[in-house]
């Protein structure tokens, strides 16, 4: 089955961790993830600046390595990210901000990517939300 997975919560929220475990299980079960889409506070799950306490799971780092390892299409909503200070190099330069916290493998793009993912996938599974 083709899954699109949307994440609406930051790395410290249980739902971000559950989304990651679901994504891992989907691939392990032979399914396909057509796209990961990070929206609302979910953009923080993609931030490279998260520092988890040593005795806790570093879910942001786990997301990063999961996406890189499986070469997944991982889109962070640009409007939601700008609002929350999650910037790639181009946006940090554009708005003259001092830090970049969204290096590869993430891609900043628009909400059209969420709709496209929902069209292509058999299931859109959302985690987080209010």
């Amino acid at each position: 089955m083709k899954f699109a997975i949307a994440v609406f919560s930051p790395a410290h929220a249980p739902s971000s961790r559950r989304a990651l475990r679901f994504a891992e299980a989907a691939l392990a079960g032979g399914h396909e993830i057509t796209r990961l889409f990070f929206y609302q506070d979910g953009v923080h799950s993609a931030s490279a600046n998260v520092v988890a306490p040593q005795d806790e799971q570093d879910v942001a780092a786990q997301w990063r390595s999961f996406v890189s390892h499986h070469q997944l299409d991982a889109v962070v909503c640009i409007a939601a990210a700008l609002r929350r200070g999650v910037l790639d190099e181009a946006e940090a330069n554009r708005y003259q901000r001092p830090a970049v916290n969204l290096p590869k493998p993430w891609e900043l793009s628009g909400l059209g990517q969420l709709h496209e993912a929902a069209q292509v996938a058999d299931r859109l599974v959302c985690f987080g939300g209010d």
Partner: protein, 119 residues
Amino acid sequence: MASSLLIISRQAPWNGPSAREALDIALAGGAFDLPLGMLFLDDGVFQLASGQQPALLQQKNLAANLQALPMFGVEELFACAHSLQQRGLDGSTLELPVQVLDDAALRALIARFDQVVTL
């Protein structure tokens, strides 16, 4: 055929960017001419209340953006009767032309759409 998406908006307009971000999903999908519906549930029905003065909270007015939904082709608009009643809102004086649905109709609505996003 394009798969249909129901967006369930559950946050009051003054409760951070959530209501606006739910609306943005609908408007973006409308721009692509996708089959969309939007359901206002729980505190999300406060988005439909008339006579709001968000400027007093130094906030932008969401109502103007909500009015754009039909223009973007999003005409399937719904509100939960129970949520309205709990919050003392009258379904006949809302800012948008929504269909007010009881719990059984809500179940049928959610079942009718291919995909559902709740924010």
